[in-house]
């Protein structure tokens, strides 16, 4: 009797302490979540404030006269003459007419640097499309040079504009353009349709997006069937002995191997032995397949294990063969889990740079790839290359590319969650 009373007294005496501990425990949980969210917010605001500028680009309006004498082009349909035509000349002349009081070789060179070197190509394209323009004039909006772009975007900054390499004269010209409304920011379409470039105003993400797409395509086509088949065999058919144990240990081991090792393996096998060319998505896909296979096999095995044995027993009961049990019953039920695992594996592969370093995909590649055998680079590599470039305008491009990559990762991970919610069966 007294013992019992003592115990309940003891419990009552300790209750306050226990409640306090409970509260503390929850508080720590909330604190760590708040901390993580704060870190995320800081990271995102930094990336977004730095990168948002890259979605707009500065354009300058110039009046172009397609003067045959300056172009040294008298018949626009003559391909040979066209290729040699002096399109830089008409740009120079147009700028000179806009700023007639600019004298001296040095200043004239500075003046030419207001517009991007792309302007000459734009003018050439115009004339190619409409040969009748020869001898006439029109006004065109062309890309501004990256120094001008950075300067113009920072004009309203609190700490004053970023002058960088622009001279006072150039700043005066920009002011004149601003006053006349001949300079403006437009949506940066180029960023989404072009490949890499050393001129920041011409650098785009499309080449890297396509490269990532082709690389992941190869990875998916190879690693998903191989991974699923391996998992299915190991779970449903393989005898349990020390050989399968050994294989299991090795698969788990491979999943934890640093990714650079797979790059070295790719270099030794695919390039040195099979003599494949460097820098192509096919090669990148093969290397990333090696890297993602363990992840896919492990998650597929877990998904197969989660299918209740009663399903298999029922199928056997009505006379299904082991293959029929596996393909008709187990596989469809395990598929959502397998897909989720594969998507997460793919997302991991999308963010990988280290293994690609060894096989030449960390490279400057301008042309956008159109097949898995064209040289290409991938999104994270593009971010790395831009972050290492000296030109100031690449800072915002880097952040913008990070935003694009994050966007793709968010889409893939949401898809994985959605698939799981949508297809998963509960028992």
């Amino acid at each position: 009797m007294t013992d019992k009373k003592n115990i309940s007294e003891l419990v009552a005496a300790g209750l306050a302490k226990r409640y306090r501990r409970e509260k503390m425990f929850r508080f720590w949980g909330i604190l760590s979540i708040v901390f993580s969210v704060l870190c995320l917010v800081v990271l995102f605001t930094d990336i977004i404030t730095k990168g948002s500028g890259a979605f707009q680009q500065t354009y300058i309006q110039i009046d172009i006269t397609y003067d045959p004498d300056i172009l040294e082009l008298y018949d626009p349909l003559d391909g040979k003459q066209f290729a040699l035509a002096n399109f830089d000349g008409v740009i120079r002349q147009s700028l000179q007419q806009r700023f007639p009081d600019v004298q001296g070789r040095r200043d004239k060179r500075e003046l030419k640097k207001l517009v991007s070197l792309d302007a000459a190509f734009v003018v050439a394209e115009r004339l190619k499309d409409q040969p009748s323009l020869l001898g006439k004039s029109e006004s065109l909006w062309v890309l501004a040079d990256d120094d001008i772009d950075t300067y113009y975007k920072s004009l309203d900054d609190r700490e004053g504009p970023f002058t960088g390499r622009t001279t006072e004269k150039t700043q005066g010209w920009v002011q004149e353009l601003v006053d006349r409304g001949e300079i403006e920011l437009r949506f940066n379409r180029e960023f989404f349709v072009r490949g890499d470039s050393r001129e920041p105003e011409l650098a785009g993400i499309w080449g890297a997006v396509k490269g990532s797409f082709f690389t992941l395509l190869v990875t998916l086509v190879l690693s998903f069937p191989i991974g699923v088949a391996a998992a299915l065999y190991l779970e449903e058919f393989a005898p349990k002995n020390k050989w399968t144990d050994l294989i299991e240990v090795n698969i788990n081991n491979l999943a934890a191997v640093p990714s650079i090792i797979f790059g070295l393996l790719g270099l030794a096998i695919f390039i040195n032995f099979f003599q494949m060319p460097r820098s192509v998505p096919l090669l990148g896909g093969l290397v990333l397949t090696l890297m993602t296979l363990p992840t896919i096999i492990i998650s597929s095995r877990a998904a197969i294990k989660a299918v209740p044995p009663s399903i298999r027993e029922a199928a056997w009961g009505i006379g299904a063969s082991p293959m029929q049990v596996a393909l008709h019953h187990v596989l469809p039920l395990a598929m959502p889990g397998m897909l989720t695992g594969s998507i997460i594996g793919m997302a991991q592969a999308l963010g990988e740079t280290a293994p690609l370093l060894m096989i030449g995909m960390v490279a400057f590649i301008v042309d956008t790839p159109s097949s898995i055998t064209d040289p290409a680079t991938v999104l994270p590599v593009q971010i790395f290359l831009w972050s290492d470039s000296p030109e100031r305008a690449f800072v915002e491009k880097t952040s913008a590319a990070i935003m694009v990559l994050l966007g793709f990762l968010i889409i893939m991970n949401t898809l994985a969650v959605w698939l799981r919610k949508r297809l998963e069966k509960r028992w």
Partner: protein
């Protein structure tokens, strides 16, 4: 079903791989120095836009790594051109030869300066190479004047030269794997090291020890390895006005609003002072072409022509705009001429 797909996919993969190995490459593959990379890529891009050949791919592998890939042999899986921020070594030339790469075209394209810079917020200082050596070497001559070496005792710049500020020595620079670091050690540290007679005498008696003394950087925290990312160094200099950073001239040129280059022996790093060699810490930039690939991989001749054209490497060419220091006009003429005629190097003077 699934198994059939697996077999099909595996087969398709193998067939593609073999088909590709047989195919010749139709774009130029360039590897090599990260210092030449910014210039090489600009030339490659212009070539792709104007010459009607696919744009070359350019990889930044470092000078040594590039030589290894370049000298690996002849054939479409090896590189056509390698960039270098120093001349090819005799050992590398031999390695090339033994792998069948016997005909190499050497092109000197220009110079790059290495700068020691600090934030614009503090004063510009004037250093000598001797100051740099005393500030950064692991072992320095005993300050008492005897001809012995002691572990670097200097904590502040003032300790080693009364004319310098009293700030702590803190220099951010590239790690030993970097070509910039090699060049910095060779040009700045060794340059200062040689000014001590007894160390210079060592070069004849014990070359290895001479090199160790002159090239080893102190490890007590005064020199901070900041990785290969020069942008990061610039950011850190902005935050800490007392520290200095080591990087290439093109970064200084692009970030002149944030950092300033220290004077070395009285000369500020500028285009002019590096070109006429009055600024002492500068190095040559090269690229090397595999002659066996010219005519096999399309565009190599065009690439050489573009790189050695006046609009590219001239005094006011687009490469000088990217921060490369051009050669003198008559040197350009000589080198350009023999490069365009694909004259191979004999390697005797290496």
């Amino acid at each position: 079903m699934i198994k059939q797909n697996v077999i099909k996919a595996a087969l398709a993969g193998t067939v593609l791989a073999t088909a590709m190995a047989a195919n010749a490459r139709d774009y130029i593959s360039i590897v090599g120095s990260s210092t030449v990379y910014p210039f090489s890529t600009v030339v490659a891009e212009r070539l792709g836009r104007t010459a009607g050949v696919p744009t070359p791919t350019v990889e930044s592998t470092g000078t040594g790594g590039g030589m290894k890939l370049f000298c690996d042999g002849v054939g479409s899986s090896t590189a056509d051109i390698t960039n270098a921020s120093r001349r090819i070594k005799a050992s590398e030339f031999e390695m090339c030869k033994s792998n069948g790469v016997t005909e190499i075209i050497e092109v000197l394209v220009g110079y790059d300066g290495i700068v020691l810079a600090n934030s614009n917020k503090s004063d510009r200082i004037n250093l000598s190479r001797k100051d740099i050596f005393l500030a950064l070497a692991k072992q320095v001559p005993n300050p008492d004047g005897s001809e012995t070496l002691v572990d670097n005792p200097y904590k502040t710049w003032k300790d080693l030269n009364p004319a310098l500020p009293a700030a702590n020595i803190e220099v951010l620079g590239p790690p030993p794997t970097s070509g910039t670091r090699d060049a910095f050690a060779e040009l700045a540290l060794e340059g200062g090291c040689k000014s001590f007679g007894f160390i210079k005498a060592m070069k004849k008696t014990d070359k290895n020890q001479y090199k160790t003394i002159c090239h080893t950087v102190r490890e007590d925290g005064a020199y901070v390895e900041a990785g290969e990312n020069d942008n990061l160094i610039v950011q850190k200099l902005e935050k800490n006005p007392d520290s200095f950073g080591v990087f290439g001239f093109s970064f200084l040129d692009q970030n002149s609003d944030k950092v300033q280059g220290s004077m070395i022996e009285g000369f500020e790093p500028t285009f002019e002072s590096i070109a006429d060699k009055s600024y002492s810490v500068s190095r040559p930039l090269y690229f090397y072409v595999k002659k066996a690939h010219v005519g096999v991989v399309p565009g190599i001749q065009e690439y050489i022509n573009e790189f050695t054209s006046n609009k590219a490497w001239g005094d006011e060419g687009y490469l000088s705009e990217k921060g490369m220091i051009p050669l003198a006009a008559d040197v350009r003429q000589d080198i350009g001429g023999s490069a365009r005629n694909l004259q191979v190097m004999n390697g005797e003077d290496l």
